[in-house]
Symmetry: C2
Subunit: 109 residues, 2 copies
Amino acid sequence: MNVEIAARQLEALGNVTRLEVYRTLVRSGPDGLAVGHLQQRLGVAASTLSHHLKYLVDRGLITQERQATTLICRAEYPAMNALIGFLADECCADTRLAGAPALPAGARK
Amino acid sequence: MNVEIAARQLEALGNVTRLEVYRTLVRSGPDGLAVGHLQQRLGVAASTLSHHLKYLVDRGLITQERQATTLICRAEYPAMNALIGFLADECCADTRLAGAPALPAGARK
DNA sequence: ATGGTATTTTTATGAATGTCGAAATAGCGG
DNA sequence: CCGCTATTTCGACATTCATAAAAATACCAT
């Protein structure tokens, strides 16, 4: 994980529609959700949704698998884990794990 | 923390220049860094930097404090913590804390 | 006040985004 | 093969973004 990749993934999540899509997929668990179901649930135009899904696939945040005519979308959990890891390690203090303060300049990497 | 705010903050970090700025500030610790130092270190035009800093302040990711002629910028750690918390809780499995699998659909909220 | 350094605002411009309807494609079921 | 459903591609459009030079502002030191 480097800054460029992280930025691209953060950017992908930095749009309400896409973030909702992604969140919905994550919460749907490993079974994923068909594009059509996503479309119904989020109420966005199919073409817009398709556009955003491509975006998310491109950046490795979700995967798609054909099942007959429908396309199943799934969150790519390792990607999110890596991204959170980047934010926590490269950028941030651990937080929520403990009350540890931010690491001082140059303490890592 | 809601989806709109999270998306705005993620978007703010979803640009290489801003992510570098932010990362630099986080790693500079609580003392922060002057705009000028950031500018020198990152080699971006002052006006561009100022633009991005405003962006980050707007979204609550950093704060600024005047000290004589120089403006000290600091990462707003709680904001990042909340954002990571959102990603972990609302969106994602915990990861890195344990090997726990993603929460199944509807397990939360 | 004057000069100097630090930072922002203004202004400009090219590029990318977000959105959607309409048309095109893909692939099953019969 | 045909029709049907699912999804994508193709314009089109308005909006926002990223960048930076130039001018303006802020504030200290003298």
